[in-house]
Symmetry: C2
Subunit: 496 residues, 2 copies
Amino acid sequence: MAKEKNEKNSENEKVTFNIDKDKNFSEWFTEIIKAAELADIRYNVKGFLVFQPWSVLSMESMYDLFEKELQKKGHKPYWYPSLIPESNFMLEKDHVEGFAPEVFWVTEHGAGEKFEERLALRPTSETAFYQMFALWIRSYRDLPFKTYQRAQVWRYETKATRPFLRSREFYWIETHNAFASLEDSKNQVKEDMETTETVLHQKLGVPYIFFERPAWDKFAGAVSTFGADTLTPDGKTLQLPSTHILGQNFSKPFNVVFKDKDGSEKLTYLNCYGPCISRIFAGVIATHGDNSGLVFPFEIAPVQIVIIPIAAEKDPAVLKMANKLKDELFENGYRIEVDDSDKTMGEKFYYWEMKGIPLRIEIGPKELKENHIVIFRRDTKKKEVLNPADLIDYIEKTAKKEIIKNLRERADAKFKEKLKSAKDIEELKKYLEERNLVRINFCSLEKDGEECAGIIEKTLTAKIRGKRADIQENPSGNCVVCGKKANVVAYAAKEY
Amino acid sequence: MAKEKNEKNSENEKVTFNIDKDKNFSEWFTEIIKAAELADIRYNVKGFLVFQPWSVLSMESMYDLFEKELQKKGHKPYWYPSLIPESNFMLEKDHVEGFAPEVFWVTEHGAGEKFEERLALRPTSETAFYQMFALWIRSYRDLPFKTYQRAQVWRYETKATRPFLRSREFYWIETHNAFASLEDSKNQVKEDMETTETVLHQKLGVPYIFFERPAWDKFAGAVSTFGADTLTPDGKTLQLPSTHILGQNFSKPFNVVFKDKDGSEKLTYLNCYGPCISRIFAGVIATHGDNSGLVFPFEIAPVQIVIIPIAAEKDPAVLKMANKLKDELFENGYRIEVDDSDKTMGEKFYYWEMKGIPLRIEIGPKELKENHIVIFRRDTKKKEVLNPADLIDYIEKTAKKEIIKNLRERADAKFKEKLKSAKDIEELKKYLEERNLVRINFCSLEKDGEECAGIIEKTLTAKIRGKRADIQENPSGNCVVCGKKANVVAYAAKEY
């Protein structure tokens, strides 16, 4: 057996999943959710999903990655109530305007006894956190005050809902932090961007650009909003984590003050950051999946390794060896399964490929005799032959590092291809139709640029995502819409 | 320095927490929640808490312990919607009667647009899970079908709320499982009891007895209910996990059927199990805490080891050594802190004792010179002297095992002392006043015993908890209330 060989021999078997992901992404996405049992959309409340084990196990790992990173950076975990009194919302004008239309309201209990005041199912938790900050923060010694919670939030979305991408209940982490100065809160935004890079890009392999959003597209109540956009294969931007400089917009109405070194009382500066786990999960599967189904990064795979015993009915030693390996891998902390069902080998191969398990191990009488095992990597679809004694070493030293590196590099290359620069509106139109993220000269991201953005939205159904937050780009020329002198380099794309 | 010495020298320092837990448990409980910053009750929705890092970190570890155990036993994790349509509730008569008075209802969204049907914030999720079971379960091959979710639930409690013990929003795990036979579902109840023993007793050190509840005290919709009762220091029972045989009460209205081997369609038998994490946390701190504050089992301590550098201002090598140790322990997976604040040594000792950290390490110039460290165990309040090179070994081999063993044995002994047998109503009264869990001869746990239970509740403010599920006990004599021939050995106690 060659050291590496393509998987040819199973081509004749039954195909369980085969959709051209790049051409028909929408169909691919809908079908893989069903086929891999990621979520069931048949629950009888509109816009709500039942998340199934194959997504939950992975999203739990994603929670772990983000939470460990946040804890390392000094954020402490809290669990806040899901209900927020209506009067809390009223305290920040932009916030209530932005969120009130989307709130689910609890108005009564039991047989219909009304609450004195309506209670919001939190659509986000600024107005829950900051009233407590006001009780807890006393002095400059308490700052920075860095917190987070893992939680679900509810928003009555009026746009069409799509599983993971946009639903009326979703799972996220929200950090909320108080600082003594605007400068400190801006540094927190930088740190949030580093957290995003570490987890989203390095560990999950999802490429993105952080944009500072235009004035008309900020988080309701924020001074500045920075959103990390990735691109789905159909060329739409998907906002993954966003981080917000809230200035003193919330600390003023909620009276989040501190006594400074000089004894004077000052308002704190607040910041929040929101990695949405269920949406990032969509980003991960949209980025790495292929025509055969899901492809999971090793670290967040619901099952990381599947062992397929071959011709086990002919030789009882095969299953014994498979289970021995399973126990050994389990002891070493891996999520592992042995598929000893009565499906055919081909069915098993296709099924677990569709499910996206990073490593498949094949053991049969031949392998036993020759004291080797065959390992199939889902990301490369290549096989390797190994001595079983080298397996743990292979996983630790090769698979764990190589797989994510390969996935990330592949995704980065694709993402880079989708970045185009358009010199005029025709070229912008063409690039948008070709499903790209398009760099343009643009008049302004302040209030006075909203009209041009409106024209792009109306005529090209695309949105201005903002300007890059990672690098400084200088405009040269005129706004591709109004022809006035451009004062910014902006990016436009279709949106999810 | 002696190998072991009592902590005497800090007695002159400021005492931060000192409440007689056994005599004034209610005060102790209220004050430790505040002092250790476990939860803040000042949130402005009645009966709702903000859980703070010192409880959240510990409860996250508790989730881990339970979830690992459940996954090992074949339960798969799901995330269900928090909202359940009112019509789902209506399908099981007893269930709706039991839960409808406690439901928080979502009735509208946005500016006040009404939903066609009221949506319940789930008080428990039978009526969410089983409609999906009906879609997923097809054949006997799909059984047993074992699931769970970690989630919060909401109940509009009319009794006085108390943090962790009874609040209107609480954090739990609920398992929901379908079987081909009643026998299989009864075996699941046994397995749930084993899970309880493994986690609650072995790993968390909380003693309890599983009681089969009287007919009038079953879970709404259950055939039989089994509840694990522990005792708080004020002699009240606290129900920790409960497990329920639901028979076909839910599978019938929700049509959870399967095709059996013989091709016939049959109703499944359902079971559910509910370890309430926030309540078990109350059980853990109530069981192990002492007059100086919290005492955490090592495995779930929010911080497991605190290092106190002594006289660090005189010798920079002290802090260096402290941080070196910290890094080493962190690398080994421990939750660790160095307290280099400018508090006095005594303040630090009392503070971290109050917070319940299992191990305290003291390092000063003397220790550096003699190449040893002093370790203080919170559970025994004894000190030991160690060579730093032996530290990891000490933690792994001694501390991790010894601490929980000591806590469990101490708690078991106390619990055992509280078990009394009363031969008549006077003795029952006396033992209840002395805050015990009291064994009595009782007429019946079926419907016809409810009157006698009512008399006990009215005259002695105690409740019949049921009969032991772990051992078979045979009555000999007459019911202590009505004097009729007893047909069961029951237990009575005050209740939380």
